[in-house]
């Protein structure tokens, strides 16, 4: 049946552009923060201008040392990481990394975080006037040092407050990235929407752990790390589905996307764009292949504009 469709469509190229919070993306595919460095690391392997957007490694006010090693470990169809948000700090980023990113066509989204509410606000403020920063992605999966280390994103009220404060300081499109380690993702999603988020991205990693049975030590120095990769995709699709039902702002789907087929699951449940994380490590060209695959799928199915595919789940 699909074949008949394939034969009958005119071979015009489908429209692939999507818009999120006023930002224009030439296609709905972009890297997930922390898996693509500051962009330049992947320039030898992939035409960065093909991407819908570039999303940077998460940035904090000051340079951050991160965790002890070992920091990563492969698990079944996934990996654990506890990099500990090591980064060069916002000033060094602006000075040393932005010049490269600024010259790209693709919009640059800066992912950032803080260990206190004030730090979140301060980082957002510093990014306000930086040329070439198209939008912000706010990672609320960080422990709130002032409040006993509870992760901002796991308490709707804390999430609401930190997003509200940041919202006051930035006029840029603000994407809030949710942690999946919660009982009810719709509650946090609504809280951050209510606090002024222009869009929501999810999921960040699921907390996990692996043990080396010979040494009896955790496989990563930090004991607990974040699980990513194909293994988590069903959880991510479920959460994106739930969030799309709960909020009006656009949603960006993340989690275990390696192939166009995987990206399609997220688009069909209603994500307007997707981010690709761990798959970049497996294949530095993964995003290009996914973009091609999405285009082919639309062509094959006779979909003229990828927006016509978004949210077409039949329940």
């Amino acid at each position: 049946m699909a074949e008949t469709k394939g034969q009958t469509v005119k071979m015009t190229r489908p429209k692939m552009a999507v818009e999120i919070a006023g930002l224009q993306f030439k296609n709905p595919v972009m890297p997930a923060s922390g898996t693509f460095g500051y962009g330049e690391e992947y320039a030898p392997f992939l035409d960065l201008n093909r991407l819908g957007a570039i999303v940077t490694k998460g940035l904090s006010l000051n340079p951050k040392a991160g965790n002890a090693t070992p920091r990563i470990c492969e698990t079944v169809s996934g990996m654990l990481n506890a990099i500990g948000l090591q980064n060069v700090g916002i000033d060094a980023f602006i000075q040393h990394k932005m010049p490269f990113l600024e010259q790209l066509d693709s919009p640059v989204i800066v992912n950032f975080f803080g260990n206190t509410l004030e730090e979140y606000v301060e980082v957002a403020a510093r990014l306000e006037d930086v040329p070439g920063v198209a939008g912000l992605e706010m990672n609320i999966s960080c422990p709130n040092v002032k409040h006993g280390g509870i992760v901002f994103g796991t308490e709707a009220s804390a999430a609401h407050e930190v997003v509200s404060q940041v919202r006051k300081k930035t006029s840029k499109p603000l994407i809030v990235k949710l942690t999946p380690n919660v009982t009810n993702i719709q509650v946090t999603a609504k809280a951050v929407e209510d606090a002024g988020a222009d869009a929501i991205s999810l999921i960040n990693t699921l907390t996990g752990m692996a043990v080396d049975v010979k040494t009896r030590k955790p496989r990563i120095a930090n004991t607990i790390g974040g699980l990513s990769g194909p293994a988590i995709r069903p959880i991510a699709v479920r959460m994106v589905h739930q969030v799309v039902q709960a909020v009006k702002v656009p949603v960006i789907g993340i989690g275990g996307i390696s192939r166009a087929m995987d990206a399609l699951e997220f688009l069909i449940v209603g994500a307007k764009a997707v981010q690709v994380g761990t798959a970049n490590f497996v294949d530095p060209n993964a995003m290009a292949t996914i973009i091609d695959g999405l285009e082919e799928f639309c062509q094959y199915e006779g979909i003229e504009d990828i927006n016509d595919l978004i949210g077409t789940l039949e329940v």
């Binding site: 460095g37 992947y42 392997f45 090693t69 920091r71 470990c73 698990t75 990481n81 496989r219 497996v282």
Partner: protein, 284 residues
């Protein structure tokens, strides 16, 4: 630095548990530097999810077919079967499709001509030293001190000898060469050639001992490190080691994949280097 979709030319066991794999690898003979590595992936296979890093043992040209086409380039890996990924690798055959990301990282600095060069290899750590020796023998005396637990761990020594490298073998159980640690041999050689430069790769405890010896004598040392790697290109920050200027306020991390795997010993903070082996045996 590219991702090549390519094929295996051969894959053979050369000593119990050690394999040599020859891979069609365009541009590598021209581009690969001693000490660089590749991220290897069995195409379309899952597990393993992540690519596996392997040093480049040697690069060269496949004997040309008589078809007038330019000769094809290859590289050789030598790998030890230790876990899920290498177990799958040992089952691969000629013609199987794989992917290579590389050549990656910073290789060895060849040092001054006419200097004495001592290479210290432990087990599979000898892999990156072969290309190094190949380049060095043109203008230096090169000695290879090769250590292993037992005779099976002593591989490709004759190939080094064929290059004109003087080789000294030691095994912990005495089953081949001198009984004991390779570091004993190193001390003797450094007594004899105090101005030699040392280049080493092998298990962390060995590297650590070599570093202590060289530091105490002021000997110039380059080390090739291993680390758990996800990306191989400096993006994930999984493979970091602490640089000599590192502090929590002013973190100075070096990526083994990008700033290494070869480091000058002085670049690293040896007191804070992880002493345990990267080996993650049977993680998946």
């Amino acid at each position: 630095m590219k991702n090549h979709k390519t094929i295996i030319l051969s894959n053979q066991e050369i000593s119990p548990g050690y394999y040599r794999m020859q891979i069609l690898a365009p541009e590598y003979n021209r581009l690969a530097k001693p000490g660089q590595f590749v991220m290897f992936r069995v195409q379309r296979s899952l597990p393993p999810l992540l690519r596996r890093p392997f040093g480049i043992f040697r690069a060269g040209y496949v004997a040309p077919d008589c078809d007038g086409m330019p000769p094809k380039e290859f590289i050789e890996l030598i790998y030890k079967v230790v876990g899920s990924g290498t177990e799958i690798m040992q089952e691969l055959h000629q013609g199987d499709r794989i992917e290579l990301l590389g050549p990656l990282g910073r290789g060895f600095d060849l040092g001054e001509p006419d200097e004495e060069k001592i290479l210290v290899g432990g087990g599979i750590g000898l892999v990156p030293l072969y290309m190094l020796a190949e380049k060095m023998v043109a203008n230096s005396n090169v000695r290879l001190l090769m250590g292993g637990r037992t005779r099976d761990d002593i591989i490709t020594v004759t190939e080094f000898e064929r290059l004109g490298v003087e080789t000294y073998v030691s095994t912990e159980d005495g089953s081949l060469g001198e009984e004991g640690l390779v570091t004993q041999v190193l001390e003797r050689k450094l007594d004899k050639y105090p101005n030699a430069s040392v280049y080493t790769c092998g298990p962390m405890p060995m590297i650590d001992a070599v570093q202590k010896i060289c530091a105490s004598r002021g000997t110039s040392l380059q080390v090739s490190l291993e680390a758990l790697m996800a990306c191989g290109v400096g993006a994930c920050l999984g493979c970091v080691v602490k640089g000599v200027g590192h502090s929590d306020e002013n973190p100075q991390y070096l990526c083994t994949c990008k700033h290494g795997p070869v480091f000058n010993a002085e670049e690293l903070d040896w007191s804070r280097l992880e002493k345990r082996d990267a080996d993650c045996g049977g993680c998946v």
